[in-house]
Amino acid sequence: MSVEPEVPIVQVEEVRENPVLYKIISSDNHVFTISEHAVKLSKTLWDLITNLGLTAENALDNPIPVENVNGKNMETIVQFCERHKYDEEEPEYTNYIREFVLPEWDRQLLSIDNEELFQLILATNYLDIQKLMDYCCRVIGDMAKDKTPEELRIIYGIPTDAEDDALERSASDSPGPSG
């Protein structure tokens, strides 16, 4: 006959259903609510929360303004962070080419046009969300698959060496602030 332990067992799901929530305001004044586990994926936001001394009690009364990220990008970022908040930490990558498969849910989330993706990456870079950065970079890297150098030049908007040289010359020829 086994003796049941008297220690109360807390279900992980119960804990997950009562998270500490934070409010974020985007550059265009959209307000987003994000859980503590999710916001921790952003080093910038978590540092801000720590430095502001926000706690479970006062978090919702003190929205965090993020002036470099608009509402559209913030929405994608919050969705991503909520989706991945319980993911296990990934090992450090080596210096070599990265081998990982982009999950289908994330591929769908990042199926946006190139300009939006560019802006999302800048926002992700500012908020320092490594996993989202890796996934965005994978999407951009995958655009190169099976393309010729000329096609790559078009997809990525890469100038020719001659165009680069011309730009450099015109920049050096233009008068400086005092001229």
Partner: protein, 161 residues
């Protein structure tokens, strides 16, 4: 999208997510991209194998085999320009683009040219092995003069052989 407008670290991150073959092609598009960005990437070690009738180069996960004989199982993927070499390429495994083969008469020169190019654009990539087999069963062979010269210049640069 303007790839070169990304912050340095972000662009390096993007390049690290690319397959080696795409990275080699990309590096040929722009000098600035090559000098400031792709040169900072290490796709993995370079392995070069020379046999009497074939030669292969493997860099990172990508491998090209230059062979005098065709293979029935290879899937044609058309003309491919990879760095200084343009080949009529075959893919060795369906649904992946990491093992190519091409049928050529001079198997050694393009292989060495490509190895030299890869070492130039990826200075961080180590030449991990160079296998040079001059006898194959009872068959012996001699390198062509152009390959000898290329090999000599290469050995001076890398002091490996």
């Amino acid at each position: 999208m303007k790839l070169l407008k990304f912050p340095w670290l972000v662009l390096i991150n993007i390049l690290k997510c690319m397959d080696t073959v795409d990275l080699i092609k990309l590096s040929s598009t722009n000098r600035r991209l090559r000098e400031k960005f792709t040169s900072k990437i290490n796709p993995g070690g370079i392995h070069v194998d020379f046999y009497p009738t074939s030669a292969s180069i493997k860099i990172g996960e990508f491998c090209i085999s230059f062979d005098r004989h065709a293979s029935a199982y290879a899937i044609p993927i058309g003309n491919q320009t990879i760095g200084p070499v343009t080949i009529n390429a075959y893919c060795l495994f369906r649904n992946e683009n990491k093992s190519w083969k091409t049928v050529v008469e001079d198997v050694h020169t393009p292989c060495l040219t490509l190895a030299q190019y890869c070492k130039t654009i990826f200075p961080k990539a180590e030449l991990e092995s160079f296998c040079f087999i001059t006898e194959w069963s009872d068959e012996q062979y001699e390198l062509e003069e152009s390959t000898r010269q290329l090999l000599a210049s290469w050995s001076q640069i890398f002091n490996k052989f």
